[in-house]
C-alpha cells in the first residue's frame, strides 16, 4: 500500500487541511516512509486475538440521564471567534 499524490490530496480534503500543491509530493514521501515502517506489523501473528479496546479492563460506567450543568451561554460563547446575539456566527453553510 503506497500513498500517491492523489491520495494525499484526498486525505487532506477529508481532514479539512489545505495543502499547497508544491508540498503534496513531499508529504506523500513522508507518509510512505512512515507507512513502510509500520508494515512490520504484518509479521505479527494476530490470529484469534481480540483487538484491545482500552488499557485497563473496566466496564464503562452508566450515569443517570439527567441535566447536571447549564445556563452558561456566555461562558460557551466567550472564546468564539465571532458571536452575535447569543449565537456563534459561522460562514453560510446552506444555499
Amino acid at each position: 500500500m503506497s500513498v500517491d499524490d492523489a491520495t494525499v490530496r484526498k486525505i487532506a480534503r477529508l481532514a479539512r487541511i489545505e495543502i499547497h500543491e508544491d508540498k503534496v509530493t513531499k508529504m506523500a514521501n513522508e507518509l510512505n516512509g512512515i507507512l513502510n515502517w509500520i508494515e512490520m506489523l504484518n509479521e505479527v501473528d494476530v490470529n484469534g486475538v481480540e483487538p484491545m479496546a482500552s488499557a485497563v479492563a473496566i466496564a464503562l460506567p452508566m450515569r443517570d440521564d439527567a441535566v447536571t450543568d447549564g445556563n452558561i451561554q456566555s461562558s460557551i460563547l466567550k472564546n468564539a471567534p465571532k458571536a452575535d446575539s447569543g449565537f456563534f456566527v459561522v460562514p453560510k453553510s446552506v444555499e
Partner: protein, 487 residues
C-alpha cells in the same frame, strides 16, 4: 535566609510548616528565578505572577488558621495542555489562539484543592506531539544542561520539555506533565529529574487537551522520588467527568517508599537492547541491576517478544485517535479562524494555518489509516498487536514484580539534530511507549551522568495499579545512585 529555590518540595513543606518562611516569600523566589532564566530557556509560555502571589497569600491565610493541605503553599508549573480557568491555554499550537478556558482541569483542581500555587503555563511540543519540544508554535525549550565544555543548545526532550526544564532549573518546585508515548519519562531522563506516568485511569483526563485518548495520562515531573510521590498522590483520584477514570483507592506512595526491595523479583527484558545504543546506557543498566541486587532483590531474565512492534503500533493508534480528537479545531466555536471563500475553505485554511507540520503529518496519517478500506489493515491490526504487547507483560508478571530498563536510547541531543527525520525522532520513545500501549505505570529516575556530563535515566515499569512497588524500587535506586549533579 538561604535561597528558597534551593529547597526541594518536601523540604519547602517542612519550612512552611515550621514558619521559617511564607508561601508568599517562596512564590516570590520562584517568580524571580523564572524572570532570571526564562528568556534563555523558554520553559514558560505564560507566567501568572499576580495570580501566583494571590494564591500564595490565600495559602498563608489558610495556614494561619490551621487549614493545611498536602501541597499547601507549594508553587508549581503547569504544562500548557491542562485547561486553567481564565488563563490562556494553547497546547503550544497557534490554532487555539487566545483561548482562555471557562473551566479547570480535574488534575489542577486537585492540586489547588491541596493548597498548591500556580506559577504559570509550561511550553511543550504542539499538542504533545514530539520528543524534542521543537514542534512548539512558540519556539523550543532549551535544556538547562549542557555538554561539558560545550555551549551547544540541547533539547530538554518532549513533549513535556517545559515541565522538565523548569523543574531542573529550579523555576518551580514541581510540574504537571502528560505522557502519551514517553512524554513525561524521556524529558525527565534528559534533565536529571523524576517523572512518572501512572496507570491509565489513575489521573482524570478531564480538561487536558486530548491527543490520543486511550494512551494519554497525566503525571508529575519532580526533583526527587519523594516530591514525585507527594505530587502524584494529590493529582490522582476518581473523577466522574472522565469515564475512563478508575474508581479505586489512592495509595500512600510516600509510605511505600520505605518498603525496600528485599525478596522482590525484578525482571530484565532482553529485548530492550537496541542497535546503536551507547555502551554507557548498557553499563548504567547493569549498574542499576547491581544496586537492586545489593538491596536484596532477585534479578530474573524475562522476555517481552513484541517490544519491537510497539512503536509501529503506536504510530497507527496515536495518529488515528489524534485525527479524530483534533477534528474539533475548526475555527467555529473557539480558537483562531482564518476566513475563506466558503465554509469548507474556511475550515481548510483555519487548520492549514493553525496546525504545525508534525501535527498535520499525524492527522493525515491518522485520517489515512482510518479511511475506508484501510481500517482493518491498519487500525484493527494495531489494536490486536497492542493486545499482544499487553499479553507479553501479563506473562512477565508471573515471573517478576517490576521491570527495570533504560528510559531512553540516548542522552539529550542537540536541537535540530533529528528534526528532519520523523522516524529517527520517533525512536526516542522505543523503551517508554510499551507502558502506554499496555496502560502500565512507569517512572524514570536520574541514575548517572554520561561521558559528556549529561544525565541518563533508568525506568521502572510496574503492574497495573501497583504504583506502590514502583516507589519502593525507585526509592532504593535513588539512594544507591545518589544523583546530586546540577545543570
Amino acid at each position: 535566609m538561604t535561597n528558597l529555590t534551593e529547597l526541594n518540595l518536601h523540604q519547602a513543606l517542612s519550612g512552611l510548616a515550621a514558619g521559617d518562611f511564607t508561601s508568599t516569600e517562596l512564590t516570590q523566589s520562584y517568580l524571580n528565578s523564572i524572570e532570571a532564566q526564562n528568556t534563555n530557556l523558554n520553559a514558560y509560555l505564560v507566567v501568572t505572577g499576580d495570580k501566583a502571589l494571590e494564591m500564595a497569600r490565600a495559602s498563608d491565610a489558610r495556614r494561619a488558621v490551621g487549614n493545611v493541605g498536602a501541597l499547601e503553599g507549594i508553587p508549581l508549573g503547569i504544562k500548557d495542555l491542562f485547561c486553567t480557568k481564565g488563563v490562556r491555554t494553547t497546547a503550544a499550537s497557534k490554532i487555539l489562539g487566545e483561548f482562555a478556558p471557562e473551566y479547570e482541569s480535574s488534575v489542577t483542581t486537585n492540586l489547588w484543592r491541596d493548597g498548591a500555587v500556580m506559577l504559570g503555563k509550561l511550553n511543550l511540543d504542539e499538542f504533545a506531539m514530539g520528543s524534542s519540544n521543537e514542534t512548539s508554535a512558540f519556539g523550543n525549550v532549551v535544556n538547562p544542561w549542557k555538554r561539558k565544555g560545550s555551549n551547544v543548545a540541547l533539547t530538554p526532550g518532549g513533549s513535556s520539555g517545559g515541565s522538565a526544564a523548569a523543574v531542573a532549573a529550579h523555576m518551580c518546585l514541581g510540574a504537571t506533565a502528560t505522557d502519551t508515548g514517553g512524554s513525561i519519562r524521556q524529558p525527565a531522563a534528559f534533565t536529571g529529574t523524576v517523572g512518572i506516568k501512572p496507570t491509565y485511569g489513575r489521573c482524570s483526563r478531564y480538561g487536558i487537551v486530548a491527543f490520543a485518548s486511550s494512551l494519554d495520562q497525566a503525571g508529575p515531573i519532580a526533583r526527587n522520588v519523594k516530591d514525585s510521590a507527594i505530587m502524584l498522590q494529590s493529582m490522582m483520584g476518581h473523577d466522574v467527568k472522565d469515564s475512563t477514570s478508575l474508581n479505586v483507592a489512592v495509595p500512600d506512595l510516600v509510605a511505600a517508599m520505605a518498603n525496600g526491595v528485599k525478596g522482590m523479583k525484578i525482571g530484565i527484558p532482553k529485548e530492550y537492547r537496541v542497535d546503536g545504543m551507547p555502551e554507557e546506557i548498557e553499563s548504567l543498566w547493569q549498574q542499576g541491576i547491581a544496586w537492586l541486587k545489593g538491596a536484596g532483590a532477585e534479578i530474573v531474565d524475562i522476555s517481552l517478544p513484541h517490544t519491537k512492534y510497539a512503536l509501529p503500533a503506536y504510530y497507527i493508534v496515536a495518529p488515528a485517535e489524534a485525527s479524530s480528537n483534533l477534528a474539533r479545531y475548526d475555527g467555529m466555536r473557539f480558537g483562531a479562524r482564518v476566513d475563506g471563500n466558503d465554509l469548507t475553505d474556511t475550515y481548510e485554511k483555519t487548520r492549514a494555518t493553525g496546525f504545525g507540520e508534525e501535527v498535520k503529518r499525524r492527522i493525515l496519517i491518522g485520517t489515512y489509516v482510518l479511511s475506508a478500506g484501510y481500517y482493518d489493515a491498519y487500525y484493527l491490526r494495531a489494536q490486536k498487536v497492542r493486545a499482544r504487547i499487553l499479553e507479553d507483560f501479563t506473562n512477565a508478571w508471573t515471573k517478576c514484580d517490576a521491570i527495570l530498563t533504560p528510559t531512553a536510547p540516548s542522552a539529550a541531543f542537540g536541537l535540530g539534530e533529528k528534526s528532519d527525520d520523523p522516524i529517527k525522532m520517533y525512536l526516542n520513545d522505543v523503551f517508554t511507549v510499551t507502558a502506554n500501549l499496555a496502560g502500565l505505570p512507569a517512572i524514570s529516575i536520574p541514575a548517572a551522568l554520561d561521558v559528556d556530563g549529561l544525565p541518563l535515566g533508568l525506568q521502572i515499569i510496574g503492574k497495573a495499579l501497583d504504583e506502590e512497588t514502583i516507589y519502593s524500587v525507585a526509592s532504593v535506586m535513588e539512594q544507591a545512585a545518589n544523583f546530586s549533579a546540577r545543570p
